[in-house]
């Protein structure tokens, strides 16, 4: 199961990772090997085996519905690149 160059570019775009054109074939080879590994596992007969969603054999713990956090905006915003009026500022997003 080999990936096309276009698919590598699409995956990179979805992950917002910039890749150089000359590296595409290298990534193609690496990613294709991962898919080959998955294909190998797919070939195993898993009839009668329940799918797992998590490697730990445990269930989710729940917490009571209580407000336990206090406002730490000052501290969080101290490490933000830009803030104003309590808001985090980001480059303009237009829908």
């Amino acid at each position: 199961m080999a990936l096309e160059s276009g698919e590598v570019e699409k995956i990179a775009h979805l992950a917002r990772i910039a890749i150089r054109a000359e590296d595409v074939s290298e990534y193609r080879r690496h990613l294709s090997r991962i898919l080959e590994f998955v294909a190998q596992m797919n070939a195993v007969d898993t009839h009668g085996v329940d799918p797992i969603a998590h490697p730990l054999d445990a269930v989710q713990r729940l917490r009571p519905d209580e407000v336990t956090e206090v406002d730490q905006r000052e501290r969080f915003q101290a490490i933000a690149p830009q803030v104003d009026a309590g808001l985090y500022l980001v480059p303009k997003v237009i829908e």
């Binding site: 917490r63 009571p64 985090y88 500022l89 829908e95």
Partner: protein, 479 residues
């Protein structure tokens, strides 16, 4: 013009009324200063771990039971990956393959008086995103993450709806239900209840579905209805001019009453869901489900049928009075306190009271006239102390002055005149004062009866018992 069938499915996001967020202990209170309720978990800072809120799970199960759905004994949280600045982690924690609630249904009332069963495919738990503020902040976008991590229940219907009206009826029914269940405040202005609508057309009689569009973030029932109507017309025009509907996400612009394509976002709709390794599977045992079932209130449909039965109300009256739990509670308190005069109480709650509340822009819970006070007035109508007409005056005084009915009646001397002799005296005077009309009436002009009633009521300031006036007047006029 071809005959098209409209196919509609709804995705409703109901914000669950928990105190804290779905995966963190930050407050969910609305209206706080920006980012004062966004903690390290909500911000997706490195090293944090989400821990699921038990109350959000309980509320989801409560909803599932109310729509007779299956509660998954085991459900899984998944990451839905996309990039947007108000989504700090780069993924939303949601549920994908194994939602907590599946295969439910809800009956809606149709205009022809029938009902329709609408399938509920699933309802799953997820976290809300933050808010982007596009006003100008030095040419940048402002991000408020107070809403990030607020628990949502996304309720997905089957494509069972066939018109804008059915879509609205379904949305309103879900809205009433989540409020009855006290799992969502239903405040649409604040975004606590929002709808996405999927619309497609197909030739009537076809079994497959046409290509659909999804219109997002409709925060009022009117916008939902308009967006569907607009989208149906738009798709019809595309199809009838030989074009093809493009599967896409659209936004409804209420100022222009149109839907617009959100171009460029389509490619990003490759969400690459996978189970969230930070969260273990959620297990819900039968004991927990039964403990939630025990807390279910009487649901709107059951209450409506009981109102018809117990108070002798018409289906229409019963459905109006059970529209919200608060209104139904008010009505029942009033009906009980006035000695079971169910129909009289219904008329007053839906008539004078609803009118006054509407005019003042008040909710039933803020009514200046309590259910007990209203019942005090209804008792005086029922026992003949005052007429229905005088009662309206008394009600006005109670609304303005906050006094009990009996005090208003006594203070203003509004007690109904039921003394036959007293009424007869007034009638005699009216007849003596209007000899011409009396002559005409006796010559066969029956219509004048109303005139005499009016004169008598005027002479006694509306206080005479109307039934007695009619009877005595008839006798006197006969001569």
């Amino acid at each position: 013009m071809s005959d098209w069938e409209v196919v509609i499915g709804l995705e409703i996001h109901a914000q669950l009324a928990t105190r804290s967020k779905i995966f963190s202990g930050a407050s969910t209170a609305y209206g706080a200063a920006p980012n004062t309720q966004a903690c390290a978990v909500d911000l997706g800072l490195p090293g944090v771990l989400p821990v699921l809120n038990a109350e959000a799970v309980r509320m989801a199960v409560k909803f599932g039971l109310a729509v007779e759905a299956q509660i998954a004994p085991r459900s899984v949280f998944a990451r839905k990956n996309y990039f947007y600045p108000d989504l700090p982690k780069g993924y939303q924690i949601s549920q994908y393959e194994l939602p907590v609630v599946a295969h439910g249904h809800l009956n809606i009332d149709l205009e022809d008086g029938g009902t329709k069963r609408v399938g509920i495919t699933r309802a799953h738990l997820e976290e809300d995103a933050g808010k982007s503020l596009h006003e100008d902040y030095h040419g940048m976008t402002g991000i408020d993450l107070n809403r990030a991590g607020v628990p949502l229940l996304e309720i997905v219907s089957e494509p069972d709806l066939r018109s804008a009206r059915e879509a609205v009826a379904y949305a309103k029914k879900i809205h009433a239900l989540v409020r009855y269940l006290e799992i969502c405040d239903g405040n649409m202005q604040e975004g606590s209840f929002r709808c996405d609508v999927n619309v497609s057309l197909r030739p009537r009689g076809a079994s497959g579905y046409g290509t659909r569009t999804e219109t997002k973030n409709l925060n009022s029932f009117r916008f939902l209805e308009r967006a569907v109507l607009y989208e149906v017309e738009r798709q019809r025009e595309v199809l009838e001019s030989g074009g093809r509907v493009v599967q896409e996400t659209r936004l409804y612009d209420s100022a222009r009453n149109e839907t617009r394509s959100m171009r460029g976002k389509e490619e990003a709709h490759d969400y690459r869901y996978f189970p969230d390794p930070d969260l273990l599977p959620l297990e819900i045992d039968a004991g927990f489900v039964e403990s939630v079932r025990a807390t279910l209130p009487e649901l709107p449909d059951a209450k409506r049928l009981r109102f018809e039965d117990q108070y002798g109300l018409s289906p229409y009256d019963a459905s109006v009075l059970t529209a919200t739990r608060e209104l139904a509670d008010y009505y029942e308190a009033a009906a009980a306190a006035c000695g079971g005069e169910g129909k009289l109480a219904a008329n007053w709650v839906m008539g004078e009271l609803a009118g006054a509340l509407n005019k003042a822009g008040l909710d039933i819970t803020a009514s200046p006239v309590s259910a007990e006070r209203l019942a005090g007035l209804l008792r005086r109508i029922a026992d003949g102390t005052i007429s229905g007409k005088i009662a309206k005056q008394v009600f006005e005084a109670m609304w303005e002055g906050g006094e009990e009915a009996d005090r208003v009646i006594e203070a203003r001397g509004l007690r109904q005149i039921t003394d036959t002799a007293a009424i007869e005296t007034i009638i005699d005077r009216v007849l003596a004062d209007n000899p011409t009309q009396l002559e005409q009436y006796r010559a066969g002009k029956d219509k004048l009866f109303g005139f005499f009633v009016g004169q008598v009521m005027k002479a006694c300031q509306g206080k005479a018992n109307p039934a007695q006036v009619n009877e005595l007047l008839k006798r006197k006029l006969a001569g």
